[in-house]
Symmetry: C2
Subunit: 649 residues, 2 copies
């Protein structure tokens, strides 16, 4: 390729061998993005997460000094991809930790696992009444005695099948009518969509196509995008699929992506990425299930407020700036094609409503999926993710808050943290001899620790006394498992192994502090809502745990470290992906869709960031399990018991 | 232009000198259309109206033999443009009768004359509440305590000003919101449009633009298009303008245009023509009144069913085929830009509803403008045009019919008939010495006779006995004014004059038959509706005469020939252009718009074409004034009186 300008440099990524030509002076991260080589970057390229570690095998670079790399790292040519400029042709090795290879399969399993809402959570079903319906109409041909106009005849036909006081028809549909009705001998199928108080005739097709009406429910997650293809007639889930959110290359949390979008005027690009992901999911499901794209007449999307903004290319700038205001919580139904989603060209996109900048439609969908809004009994819904949203209430009242727990349990801000993909430690325990056991996702050699694993590690180290209640390492308890580096004490979870290229996996003092802050944020949010509403922790009759993390959570351990309130375990229910469950209910029932909108209106948002009491609760929760151990009677009992057993040692 | 292919011929039209290059073998009418030289053609080029007479000054032609040209015509090189093929370069003279030159001014005057609905007709006013309104919103900026989303804040602002239970926002408007609201410091103007049960936020502008909100009401007539520019805030008519419908070159009546559209797949072209006319009117008014096109937020169009189909490019084929079914009577509000109307890019087009293929929104608008639907008193609305639509009813019930009167009173099918443009005889009388007097439009030398003139001629000839009750010429009464040609007896209205190039103007026996058929059709429609509803002619307390023709109608003469029922003249009211009056009310009041839709639903259509009783009534009305002269006591009295005075002659 001798035609390349001399100011371009070629970067070859190993082990894939994929190349990128970039202007010299670009960063390795830029090159990786251009080549679509996935390199983990939590901070979006700002040089402070330390996740985008790659090894420069050959070539000239200019790497900024950083405290995020150890001397040993530097000697082994490890660099931060975002902080390293390409000055000549490079060969760069991307370590295994970055790989997303087998994640797809795992998420597929998840997607399928939660394709049906657990009956226990739902209890009752909404009336089957999808917002987009097809009606087969065998119209009486006009005669001198009955010379209604074509359009009026169509409306009369539709109204003989459904209540539709206010109707609308698009201009293009109207134009087709005279020819279409006659060619099809007055036997047609009308697709009718609910649009906030009116019914729109979305399309008219010849003959009877009413049996082919599909919808797609999408959980537009910051990390993963999950989609379900649903037969709107039979209310069955035909297929499910998931993928990583391609926006991740611009930051693993959405605040970073908003920064990136603002700085690079890249909102359109971020929209294209998420829309591309959704289209890929729809394509995959449709071709696998042999469903024509034209027969997919609607899609319901739910997600956090920022993701819905990205999806719609709505400016999310003010979400991250005080007073934290979204462009819209309630999005009117629009044509899916307007944002680029490829279903029926006139099919609709329903975005479920959010409550505030940090309480999105994943939560409103969850509140409806769990029926929290309908029950007499007081319940708590906790969605543990980056923010850790909490809803407290019953059919009389509901309050919600976003705890800004931070992404520690998603592996961010933790040295060997990673997402729950192949090779991530997801279970961990220590026995009496302080020997540890773990299980990895996919049974592969460990390459990091995911959320459930981190929670286990924290709980186990605390249980056996390696961590004290303030979260400080007690080196003397297990000196053989501890060592010190420039950043202080650390606990070795797994030693490095040349044999299977396993890296050393550790938990640092800073990691512990991050994890405790995260769990404290969630507990403090729960605690504050309870205090605000003048109820008691014991009044809570049910705790719904939602979110991908929730499914693998060991409840007793989560209570043990003080993340969850100390309630009998039978009160706790995993509800899985309640976001997609709610989205699917909206896809199948206008009543559910309307209820989610009502819930979004009824939910009272409590802002924690400006709440003095919350800071107070948060500080008190920055202990294991809590400053006031009286709130955790079961933990108190266990600690005493452990002290009894471990004291002799 | 030596590059022209030898298979092209050049046609030069005199007196304008405009040329067209057409493939040899094209008709002169084709060439005229290409050159945009107006040549009257009522049949749309099918060779049977005989109106497209032109003179071939030089060049080779191939003219079909036709009975529509006299031998004298043929000797003077008169041809029918539609039946004459161009075989070489031609010079063609277009006679004065075709010219539209000064018509514009006349219509301007008309447009202005009817810019305000006569108070007598309206009586009460609808509540001022335009379907598209602008609201200036001084929004409270968000704060931590009040962190409503931008979209919800906007809705709350709008809802503080107007009832809007169901609201919608276009995607593009939603996208602008965050930036726009902040740049304008939360002071914005929202344009909100009623769309059949929902309110759509059509645009949001910075600052206070609420005072600039305009709408355009359009009477989309088959012959003339009239538009009024209305200030929606002050409910005043800012300007009015009118033009000829450019579709006329494809046929003066819409049935011909439907034929043409079907045969030449020219529906799109016909739409462009009428949309172009409307755009020209809007452009003219906006620039004259210094109103920005962007401030015109809506347009209300009314017209006969076919014209509304042309405007929207809806297939009108089935309007003219049994059972005469329109594509739509009720057209949902759509964006004006969708049909190409140039107002605010997101502004709306409201087409008023029609009742049936031959009772259009000009009639429903008229029923509301006259308040016929609201009165306890029985009234008749007669719109005399090509069809002669009739509405009979009161607030309890309403029936309507279209009489297919034919266009004789519009000058079609009458040898020297023409529209009411400069040089048309509009008033005519005969004195006792059988000398005649007339008045022309614009006081110019006569070149034809328009509707009101034809009615006068018919009534006067009947009054003085030149026509008997069967409509037969009585040559002996005025032998000096009569002569005979190959088509039979004719009455000379005006002899030819070399001096001012005045042609001979005559009324033939065939003309009389056509005119009598037209008046009979209208009377028979009235008569049939009265019989159907079991009321009596004397029960009618008011007759509203609508339509351009109506304004110049001599009521006593119309009664004298039996066109109108014989009622006291004080019962008859001219309501002028009730179509645009109704359209303007809809522009200014949602209640009026809703009422017109209700009226369209309430009006019971009586089909005359398949009605045996109607044929019976029609045959009986084919006399002057009627077979049963007892129905016209005032005429009976006059005839007796005339006979008394004329018998001595």
């Amino acid at each position: 390729m001798g035609t390349e300008s001399s100011s371009n440099c070629r970067v070859t990524f190993l082990p894939s061998g994929i190349c990128a030509e970039v202007p010299c002076g670009s960063t390795i991260l830029d090159a990786a993005r251009q080549a679509s080589v996935y390199v983990t970057s939590l901070c979006g390229g700002d040089g402070y997460c330390g996740k985008c570690r790659v090894v420069v095998e050959s070539g000239e670079i200019d790497a900024k000094p950083t405290s995020l790399l150890s001397r040993a790292d530097v000697q082994q040519n490890v660099v931060l991809a975002c902080e390293t400029k390409v000055l000549g042709d490079l060969v760069v090795k991307v370590p295994k930790e970055h790989m997303l290879d087998t994640a797809q399969i795992l998420i597929d399993a998840d997607a399928h696992r939660f394709s049906e809402l657990p009956a226990a959570a739902a209890g009752t079903r909404f009336w089957h009444d999808p917002p987009v319906q097809k009606f087969y109409l065998d119209l009486v041909p006009p005669s001198i005695e009955d010379n209604l106009g074509d359009h009026e005849r169509l409306y009369a036909g539709i109204r003989s099948k459904t209540e539709a006081p206010h109707m609308q028809t698009g201009y293009r549909v109207l134009q087709q009518l005279p020819g279409l009705l006659r060619q099809s001998r007055w036997k047609v199928t009308a697709t009718v969509a609910e649009r906030w108080g009116t019914h729109e005739v979305v399309q008219v097709e010849p003959g009877d196509t009413s049996r082919s009406n599909f919808g797609v429910a999408v959980d537009v997650g910051t990390t993963t995008v999950v989609a379900h293809l649903v037969d709107l007639n039979t209310a069955t889930t035909v297929d499910a699929e998931a993928t990583y959110n391609s926006q991740m290359k611009y930051g693993e949390d959405y605040i970073r992506r908003i920064f990136y979008a603002n700085q690079h005027n890249a909102l359109g690009e971020l929209q294209s990425l998420i829309v591309g992901d959704i289209n890929n999911l729809i394509d995959t499901m449709c071709s696998r299930s042999k469903v024509g794209m034209n027969d997919v007449t609607c899609t319901v999307c739910a997600g956090n407020t920022a993701m819905i903004h990205f999806l719609l290319n709505l400016d999310p700038t003010y979400i991250r700036k005080e007073p934290y205001v979204p462009a819209a919580n309630f999005i009117p139904p629009i044509r899916a094609a307007e944002v680029g989603i490829r279903i029926n060209g006139r099919g609709l996109l329903y975005c479920l409503p959010s409550v505030a900048a940090y309480v999105g439609s994943d939560i409103t969908a969850g509140v409806v999926a769990t029926r929290l809004y309908a029950s007499r009994r007081l319940a708590l819904l906790i969605d543990i993710g980056t923010n850790g949203e909490v809803v407290l209430g019953n059919r009389e009242w509901m309050v919600c808050a976003s705890s800004s727990a931070g992404p520690a349990f998603e592996g961010s801000g933790v040295r060997n943290g990673m997402r729950a993909v192949t090779g991530a430690i997801e279970k961990f325990s220590i026995d009496d001899s302080l020997a540890s056991r773990f299980r990895t996702v996919g049974g592969q050699p460990p390459r990091g620790i995911c959320g459930s694993g981190l929670l286990d590690v924290l709980a186990e180290l605390f249980r056996v006394g390696i961590l004290d209640r303030a979260g400080r390492f007690q080196r003397q308890v297990a000196p053989e498992r501890m060592r010190e580096d420039e950043q202080g004490l650390l606990f070795v979870i797994q030693s490095a192994s040349r044999q299977d290229e396993t890296p050393e996996l550790v938990l640092t003092q800073a990691d512990v502090a991050n994890l405790i802050r995260s769990k404290a944020a969630i507990y403090a949010a729960v605690s504050l809502l309870i205090e605000t509403m003048h109820v008691d922790m014991n009044d809570i009759e049910c705790i719904y745990l939602a979110g991908g993390f929730g499914n693998y959570l060991d409840v007793s351990k989560a209570t043990f470290i003080g993340m969850l309130p100390d309630v009998p375990s039978e009160k706790i229910r995993f509800v899985g992906n309640s976001c997609i469950a709610g989205a699917k209910e909206a896809l199948l029932s206008r009543a559910a869709y309307d209820m989610i909108r009502e819930v979004a209106n009824r939910l009272t948002y409590v802002d924690l960031m400006t709440n003095v009491k919350y800071m107070d609760e948060f500080v008190k929760a920055n202990f294991l399990p809590h400053t006031d151990i009286g709130r955790f009677p079961s933990v108190k009992a266990k600690i005493r018991q452990n002290q009894t057993t471990t004291e002799p040692r």
